[in-house]
Chain length 462, copies 2
């Protein structure tokens, strides 16, 4: 179906002919969850090129009762950008202006459609750093990162995207452009609507621009990698890092099954181990040198191998290998159902053992890796996508995994969000009264339920 | 009036006789804004000793339509704890348990009534640091710090109280104890109700406990102080610190009038200058040594005097002197109307000049100091409290100051909050639609309007 008729005409009237997608609309039907079978086909796709144009589209849609699905880079892992068939996809890809960049003040004012990589490069060229590094830097957009409060490995030291946003511009119902916050770094005047929009997954409004805090870039960064005989000793090593008071930039882990799949391409000798830990030191060269030794000592106790390379190429190869683990697992093993629960770090060992037990009960293979410092476990259940009974068992395993995370004092989603994939799971985690408040906040912002419908639902839709 | 009759009986039934204050109730009628004439007298004061008891009080009050004013240490500067005469003050002072302390995991689970100092000492005894340092450490309570998202000088590097809270327990209407978040460091499952409660000044619910993140304590801390001929050159020096990429822990300033009042007691030689800047370096001894030289260089250009002491006693004297500036000004000059606007740092020089002009137009003396790194200006207009016309002019000056802060891209309150003192000012800062959302969020959490009524109002009450 090519888009024709009244809706296309109305949208073209609002944003211009060239901003209404008429060919290739299917590309806007899925995000990074397509591999788990989530795909839609929107009624229409618009590419407004200014915040004002976004506001016009929202006002029109809100008035006419048309659902809207905001879209960033489409790299989300929760189906947050998957449209329903009655929806207009509002893609922010043309909102690409750097409205202001004040390197001497460590800040930037950027539009939602800039990629993470573009923001990072903008900062870097002036000796600054935009710390959040959630992955897919060349595809993911800053607006999407804000809408999901994206994290990533360095969130352990630097927090997630939302911690770097001092102000937001967003279009809210019934089609008004508002700003909350701005370039000032502290503001306690109103309820924190900025934080409410951050991580709201496009269900409360559409982020069009943000004021970002930046930092002087660390002069050096070095990884330390250790191989451990098993998960228990690996987790003990991770705890030793905190116990030793080492403030690493990131603290990561890979389990035995992940190493078995991805370890053969580990730079240098293939990695074979029951557990792998990876840490990153950053700061001045002297600090990094000191932290590198401290990390090697803390992670190295009982380890079978410790690598703390300083050679630039070797460092780059290790970083690139770690970044590719998820793709390697997908490429080599086909289907997987991946979740992103989080637990307190001291429950990680217990969680890892339980994940294995859950998979065993469902006769599934499993592998897991994640951001140990923040307790985030990317646990995958490997499946043959043509085997429906196996897929059902994988979903049952995921449900057990969510229960486990909640029981251990954690969350059903540490960084991907609820989206479509985990719709309804919040009620398992939050007390009933908090769930009610979540739903009432949604109604305040979106009384007609037109912003990204079906996403971030606290309870399954009935 | 001593508390008698039905209400006292009902409250005693809920929380026990010894938890209903019958004598000295007046002590709960004011906070640190008493000096600006804000004082109330509550109908009753209760001191529940558990979160469950707080929930019982709230449930009873909510059912019977009785307003509640939650109270921490009473050190707020916005009148947030000043009760109306029909209100029950719910003081959290007996909620003093450390529910869990996991130094090896850098975290603590504490009840709302612990003082900031107690939390800081708890951390310090295990080599950790609770970075927020909003002042009045021995009186202010962690619950109050959360309710106001209290900041302080180190907020420049470390953020404010809310940035250290991973989970909250709170009593919300109609009297239910909820938890949002917990010990896990990352959680993007629900709308950020935790952040909505943080800084809500007790108007959305009553915080009873929190999970706090902690950090390994910096091994060393050293101040650098510089005296400058005037505000313009002082502000240029502050900007040079950022421009040089120095990540100081704090970056403070005092203006000429403040130095004239407090400078005579400056440790060592009296300070005489047009502007003073103070920075703090923290980290490892090597980092601190390096940063101290860098700060001395960046602040020193064009300065008339630079001090960068390493002697422990001298360092302590400077820190203590800076902490005492506000009291010194009050003690020596009597009445003052102090506000806490914030602006982007690059507008500080302009703001300082404008503050003087505003005071001049109102024929008032003014002095200002603040947290330059976060652009927070504590601007005071000095007044004779018996001179009503002068007081009126001071209020007019404050109104101009708020307009100035908004015009420069800042806020009417950078750290004290709206409270009673700035009730209605938010509408001057936020667009109308955001103000509506602020008010609707309040109604969602508190449909009967019984949580700290009259506080954090976006518009003047009619």
């Amino acid at each position: 179906m090519e888009l024709t008729g009244e809706l296309a005409g109305e949208l073209a009237h609002l944003v211009g002919d060239d901003a209404v997608v008429t060919e290739g609309i299917a590309a806007y039907g899925a995000d990074s969850t397509e591999g788990r079978g989530l795909r839609g086909r929107p009624q229409a796709v618009v590419l407004p090129s200014s915040a004002g144009a976004v506001a016009r589209v929202v006002a029109w849609c809100y008035h006419h009762g048309v659902p809207m699905v905001p879209r960033g880079g489409g790299t989300g892992f929760a189906g947050g950008a998957v449209p329903t068939e009655d929806a207009v996809v509002v893609s922010l890809e043309r909102l690409r202006r750097v409205r202001a960049f004040d390197p001497l003040m460590w800040r930037a004012h950027v539009e939602a459609g800039l990629t993470t990589g573009e923001v990072q490069r903008l900062a870097r060229e002036s000796g600054l750093d935009f710390p959040p590094n959630p992955g897919a830097a060349e595809q993911s957009q800053i607006g999407g990162n804000i809408a999901t409060n994206a994290g990533g490995p360095r969130s352990f030291k630097y927090g997630a995207t939302g911690d770097w946003v001092t102000g937001l511009e967003a279009v809210v119902a019934p089609g008004e452009l508002i700003t909350v916050g701005g370039p000032a770094r502290r503001d306690v005047a109103g309820y924190d609507l900025r934080r409410l929009l951050i991580g709201s997954e496009g269900t409360l409004g559409i982020v069009t621009a943000a004021w970002l805090r930046l930092l002087p870039a660390p002069e050096a960064r070095l990884p330390v990698v250790a191989l451990h005989p098993d998960a228990a000793s690996g987790c003990a090593a991770l705890e030793r890092v905190l116990g030793s008071g080492i403030r690493a930039a990131s603290l990561e882990f890979l389990d035995e099954a992940t190493i078995a799949i991805a370890g053969h391409s580990f730079p240098g000798d293939a990695a074979v181990a029951g557990f792998m830990t990876l840490a990153e030191a950053d700061g001045s060269p002297e600090e990094v040198a000191r932290m590198r030794s401290e990390l090697a000592e803390a992670l190295g106790e009982g380890a079978t191998r410790v690598l703390s390379p300083t050679d630039t190429d070797q460092v780059a190869r290790i970083v690139s290998w770690r970044d590719g683990v998820s793709l390697t697992v997908s490429a080599q093993r086909g289907g997987k159902l991946s979740e992103d629960v989080a637990v307190p770090l001291d429950r990680l060992a217990e969680a890892m053992a339980e994940v294995k037990a859950i998979a065993g009960r469902q006769r599934l293979e499993t592998c897991a890796w994640g951001h140990a410092g923040d307790g985030i476990i990317h646990a995958s259940f490997l499946v043959d996508r043509t085997n429906e009974a196996q897929l059902d068992r994988a979903h049952a395993a995921a449900a057990d995994l969510f229960g486990l995370a909640i029981r251990l004092g954690g969350t059903v989603t540490g960084e991907h969000g609820i989206g479509l994939a985990k719709a309804g799971r919040l009620q398992e985690q939050w007390p009933a009264r908090a769930v009610e408040l979540h739903e009432q906040v949604k109604r305040v912002f979106d009384p007609k339920g037109l912003f990204n419908p079906g996403k971030k639902l606290a309870r399954p839709s009935s």
